[in-house]
């Protein structure tokens, strides 16, 4: 099937190429490499992935030119070695030494998601880009100044021309380029994925942990962090961290009281790499996270129904450590070593 598609694409490309003059090839389509455990990724029609666009987005992602004083890039808080999180910090400092209020999120499999940020406030990957650039607690830059710098740069106008056919760099094109790179960061080669493909075997502890993960009376994690594929349904929920949440979460966006204290259910892929945990980085270890679900659930008004009647201390010490062992199988070492995602 894939081969057929490829042939078809090649044919179409061939025809298109014939019609154009040979000297202007235009950007080349980027072939997304989706591992077997993940679905096809939707890509918006007005921002198709191209080799040139992705390469440009990657360069921008790592370039401090986007910040006010040119000291901070997206990668300052989203580091590849930590599955594109901040590496151990609950909150990240911006260029002025100001502290944010939420834990930096990992960046992978973004193309499968609908809302971005812990509260889903950013509507799409493109639109999200200008948030951190302008935010006073992050890169704190004036977008007009950043665009001025890019337009006066020795390389960027040419790179934008190659990717988008124009040397004039606008906010829209800046957003599109970075979003293209972000969509290519796909993670689906963990031990768990390899086990499903018959390329790896799980230890006894890992296999037992998987059962706890799915058992409704035990972990029941799969209820929200759906097992397989993206390991989350990305719905907004309250998982009982506080009886009254200091951060209104999703309600900041929807203004609905019923959304107060709800946050986007995060993927549990690469979870061993992204400590600390939760929207405010309150837990340092996976053991603490598991213990939260075992004995620490707070009866918030909007606590998810599936967590309402959970028996306290239902997990044995063995089950807890098995569950953590299973969570470790979700680490994708190829994600953190893939040179395609590294600083160019």
């Amino acid at each position: 099937m894939r081969n057929k598609l490829f042939l078809l694409t090649a044919l179409v490309l061939g025809i298109v190429a014939c019609r154009h003059t040979a000297t202007e090839p235009g950007p080349r389509a980027y072939q997304l490499d989706i591992p077997s455990g993940l679905p096809e990724m939707p890509v918006p029609a007005d921002n198709p992935l191209t080799e040139e666009g992705v390469a440009l987005g990657r360069k921008l992602f790592y370039d401090p030119i986007l910040s006010g004083n040119q000291t901070m890039s997206c990668a300052s808080c989203h580091k590849q070695e930590f599955a594109f999180t901040d590496g151990g910090k609950a909150f990240s400092f911006g260029i002025d030494g100001k502290l944010g209020t939420r834990n930096a999120m990992p960046l992978f499999n973004l193309g499968y998601q609908r809302g971005f940020f812990w509260d889903g406030g950013a509507a799409d990957i493109e639109s999200q880009v200008v948030g951190p650039i302008q935010n006073p607690v992050e890169m704190h830059a004036d977008l007009a100044i950043v665009l001025g710098r890019l337009n006066a740069h020795s390389e960027y106008p040419t790179l934008f021309e190659k990717a988008f056919g124009t040397r004039t760099i606008s906010s829209v094109l800046l957003m599109k380029a970075i979003a293209q790179f972000e969509r290519t960061i796909v993670s689906g080669n963990s031990k768990w994925d390899k086990y499903l493909r018959g390329e790896a075997t799980l230890t006894d502890a890992e296999s037992r942990g998987r059962i706890v993960y799915e058992d409704e009376d035990k972990g029941d994690c799969t209820h929200c962090h759906s097992i397989g594929s993206t390991f989350s349904d990305f719905e907004y929920r309250n998982n009982g961290l506080d009886s009254v949440s200091a951060d209104a979460g999703r309600a900041l966006i929807t203004f609905l009281a019923t959304d107060s204290g709800k946050f986007k259910t995060p993927s549990l892929r690469n979870i061993a790499l992204t400590a600390p945990y939760m929207h405010d980085g309150r837990f340092q270890t996976l053991e603490e996270c598991v213990e939260h679900y075992n004995s620490g659930l707070q009866h918030a008004r909007n606590l998810d129904p599936s967590l309402r009647n959970k028996v306290k201390n239902r997990l044995s010490t063995q089950q807890k450590s098995d569950l953590v062992a299973f969570l470790h199988t979700l680490t994708d070492y190829e994600l953190i070593s893939n040179p395609k995602f590294a600083k160019p």
Binding site: A123, S127, Q134, P136, A144, M175, A251, F255
Partner: protein, 247 residues
């Protein structure tokens, strides 16, 4: 082939319609808008603590920016005629932003002008837009995809006499406000009319609910603690606009 047919058909239709027009049918005109940003009739001067609101707070303006959008005209029988779906970013420090012209206004006799403060929900949730909605204008939120509809930054003298920063950032789907103003018979028939539209900052801070800067001085839509302020602003916006003159 099909295209050619269509083209001919179109051309034909045009010819017919243009022939008709020259006789008696009314034809579209245009309206030039001039926005007068003011405080109780005083022009807004950026910087000094020149102004005083209904609550007696002395205040200044260092930035005043807001979006106006989706203009329409109403006839006496209440029929709404949309004239323009553009977005205008008014900036009190940029005279060029304070006048704009709307062309192709259908002919008719109009008794009301309708427009909105802010950006409608259809366009409020994408950052990848250009023109007035380009994020480069600094009118988008950092943490969610959406526009800041209105910004007033400056300072005020607090109850102890200290000059303190003032920052109002307003904008959310629920804060998109419709404004409707009476027109004294605006007839459009191939002509250009001029409307001077006033925006009175003191009106915004007075009617129907007065705002006291000692209580509200650093407010942002979406903050839980700022909901009351946001609702007050929403109810006050319509009264802050008035038609100063029609020419």
């Amino acid at each position: 082939m099909l295209r050619k047919l269509l083209l001919t058909a179109c051309a034909g239709a045009f010819l017919i319609s243009s022939c008709k027009k020259s006789d008696s049918n009314p034809s579209p005109g245009s309206i030039q808008f001039s926005i007068s940003n003011e405080v109780d009739g005083q022009p807004i001067q950026m910087g000094p603590l020149n102004f005083q609101n209904a609550k007696g707070n002395d205040y200044s303006v260092s930035m005043l920016k807001y979006y106006l959008s989706n203009f329409s005209l109403l006839t006496a029988d209440g029929t709404e005629v949309p004239v323009n779906s553009s977005y205008y970013l008014i900036d009190a420090s940029l005279p060029a932003s304070e006048s704009f012209s709307i062309a192709d206004v259908p002919a008719g006799a109009y008794t009301k002008l309708r427009f909105h403060l802010g950006v409608d929900s259809l366009h409020n949730h994408s950052g990848t837009q250009s023109g007035a909605l380009d994020p480069v204008h600094g009118m988008i939120w950092n943490w969610n995809t959406g526009y800041i509809f209105f910004k007033h930054e400056g300072s005020y003298k607090d109850s102890l006499g200290n000059v303190t920063p003032l920052a109002f950032h307003y904008g959310s789907d629920r804060g998109y406000v419709q404004v409707e103003l009476p027109l004294s018979n605006l007839n459009i028939d191939g002509n250009t009319r001029k409307i001077t539209l006033g925006f009175n900052l003191n009106g915004l801070y007075a009617n129907p609910i007065p705002i006291d800067f000692n209580l509200d001085n650093n407010r942002t839509s979406g903050n839980r603690d700022d909901v009351f302020w946001e609702m007050t602003m929403r109810s006050n916006f319509p009264g802050a606009f008035q038609i100063i003159k029609t020419e």
